[in-house]
Amino acid sequence: MASILRIIAQRLALGIVTLFVVSIVIFAAVNLLPGDFAQLILGQGATPEAVEAIRQDLGLDQPPITRYFQWLAGAVQGDLGNSFAQANFASFAGTDVGTGQGSVAAQIAPRFENTMFLAGVTAVIAVPISITLGVLAALYRNSAFDRTANILTLSSISSPEFFLAYILILFLAVLNPILPSLSNIYDGMELSDRFIKTLLPALTLTLVVTAHMMRMTRAAIINLLASPYIEMARLKGISPMRVIVKHALPNALAPIINVIALNLAYLITGVVVVEVVFVYPGIGQLFVDSVKIRDIPVVQACCLIFAAAYILLNLTADILSIISNPRLRHPK
């Protein structure tokens, strides 16, 4: 047990270091901007005095390393700075930086929740379906079912998310008005209502993620079924069901966990485009809007959140597959 704890501790430490380095990369990237934020906020025609005032306000006169650690310290405490777009320039003279209506954290929080809801609904639909289909495809490999599934999943993976989104809108919202094509979600709406409005974007994401997950599950299971101990189990005259449940599944756990985590991580990227198509008020849409108006603090914060979620999921997958490996769980 000691060695497994040590391995997990190592992975955790590595994850934290990665996140730290990623935050440096994001901060450094933003600091590559020509001129500085102050110039950017006020535009080309600003008077030098005004620029200087904002620069002092934002602490831009300090060296980058100091600013990085200030930003990082704030980010750790949930203070992600002020949004340019929401900021009332006059309020920059005030002192309530990071708490007011214009704070990035206040903007992101509700949207983050929405995105998590969308990702959650998607995962609940996609994971069971794709694992089942993947296992079936592996069991009946090279059958007509497997070949059809192969063609369909390849096509689904190859299609841009917005294509799948519009196809679903076409069939489920326009031609057969079953689901709403726009996801106008607001505070205090009923859960069932919210679920119905989330369903179409969630189904779009499901199509993409299921295809990936199913193919990966299939590959993992086929790999597993080829192992001599499965042949041994079959030669013991055990029922096919028991071969799968007792012999394949315990060993398939690690690869399947990996597949799920990888695809949830993939959701993070997919969510951006889908949110834009369905005007879903999530963090992805906020991110794209901020990119267009160059609202740097928001972009920076969203980027950090996406990266953190991505790293966290990969880390979880890593640790779970270590735990589910009998060789590591029962060392010599």
């Binding site: 380095v21 950017l40 063609i151 190859s158 841009p160 326009v174 951006v272 990266a307």
Partner: protein, 399 residues
């Protein structure tokens, strides 16, 4: 709620039919192994597949119905069935063509080729021709604003179409067909250039890391780990924000930045693969033999390693191209990718998207954005089919 009851009833009927199917099969064939050892799930699978096929056929019949509302409702399904049959037939014809024309090597290749792969190759060839000769094929220029705006696709004047513009025109009166054709040149061309750049960077560094090892390998691998910890589309969007500030109003420069940014981000994935492939080859005895002979680094990389890495690298090139292509399409769709006035499929989808809402009464109008989107999907599907076949072939050879 009715719809859910209907679904449950259908499922129950299929489940029952599955049982009946197997039972009858066993009786009729005198317990042949096919039915004797058939599990219940497989029997249900057969019934399910039959129901789906019948439904698709019936939809096609309905799409040709004289009743305009019903025909409109099934217009897209009907077109999808037609399209599928057309693709399958042309892939089949192309395969026969390939089996009888060309050198002995290519003929042998076509003989063992699945239909999906021959469809993929045919599609890629057509896209390449369209992209290269876009200027000669397109009836109008990509930026040319013509007389009529919002002409309905289909070319039927009775329905608001115009035979001069077979696929109609967009909101400001540009010919959609011409823009689709130029889109092949712009979108595919830019994605191709980006992939080549990503490969030059990624493969070179990857092989260097694999052969040299040591601190260079460590440094590059850790750097790639960090870059890959940021989701690629998110990272691309972040960098595009900065690039757009750098480029200012120069749209061409922004497109150039986009190529570089995506190439760098994707080169990390290429690096990983090239390094892994390289490491697998480096441990081979023939590399050891060459080292012990006293061969130099250049000979090792170009004469011993590279020839053995072409197959996986080629497959990766196809996959990478798909990713790059989809990333660029997504960026353009989000409005930060290829900039107007260059015609581009992603941007076209975004601009024409609202027409989908007319699908119920004017399906032709709604097909314009879907055409642009399927132009993207078709190419990536084609490339993926070919890559899938290549990977299958190379893994089959190993056994």
């Amino acid at each position: 709620m009715n719809i859910f009851i209907a679904i449950v009833l259908w499922l129950a009927a299929i489940a029952a039919a599955g049982w009946v199917f197997r039972f009858v099969g066993q009786k009729v064939t005198g317990n042949k192994p096919l039915f004797r050892d058939m599990s219940y799930g497989v029997a249900v699978g057969y019934i399910l597949a039959a129901v789906l096929l019948v439904w698709l056929g019936w939809s096609y019949v309905l799409s040709r119905s004289p009743d305009q509302t019903i025909a409109n409702k099934y217009f897209f399904l009907g077109k999808a069935v037609e399209g599928f049959l057309l693709f399958a037939a042309s892939a089949w014809a192309f395969r026969i063509f390939g089996r009888n024309v060309g050198s002995a090597g290519t003929r042998k290749l076509f003989r063992s080729m699945p239909l999906t792969a021959s469809f993929g190759i045919l599609t890629i060839i057509i896209y390449a021709i369209v992209a290269i000769f876009a200027g000669a094929i397109a009836p109008y220029g990509q930026e040319e604003i013509l007389g009529a705006a919002n002409v309905v696709p289909g070319g039927n004047p009775a329905m608001g179409g115009n035979p001069d513009y077979p696929l109609g025109t967009d909101q400001i009166g540009r010919d959609i067909l011409s823009r689709l054709i130029y889109g092949a040149q712009n979108t595919v061309g830019i994605a191709f250039a980006t992939t080549v750049l990503a490969f030059l960077i990624g493969a070179t560094l990857g092989f260097l890391a694999a052969t040299l090892g040591g601190w260079l390998d460590q440094l590059l691998s850790r750097a790639v780990d960090v870059l890959m910890a940021i989701p690629s589309l998110i990272f691309a969007l972040l960098l595009m924000t900065i690039a757009s500030a750098w480029a200012g109003s120069e749209k061409g420069l922004l497109t150039f930045y986009m190529v570089v940014i995506i190439a760098v981000i994707d080169s990390t994935r290429v690096f990983r693969l090239a390094r892994a492939v390289g490491l697998n080859i480096v441990v081979m005895d023939y590399i050891e033999a060459a080292k012990l002979r006293g061969e130099g680094m250049g000979y090792l990389i170009f004469r011993e390693i590279l020839p053995n890495a072409t197959a996986p690298l080629l497959a990766e090139f196809g996959l990478r191209f798909c990713f790059v292509f989809l990333t660029i399409a997504s960026l353009s769709f989000l409005g930060v990718g290829i900039q107007p006035p260059l015609a581009d499929w992603g941007t076209m989808v975004r601009d024409l998207a609202q027409f989908i809402n007319f699908a119920a009464f004017a399906p032709q109008v709604a097909s314009a954005p879907l055409l642009a989107a399927s132009a993207i999907a078709l190419l990536t599907v084609a490339v993926n089919f070919v890559v899938d076949w290549m990977l299958h072939k190379s893994s089959g050879l190993k056994e």
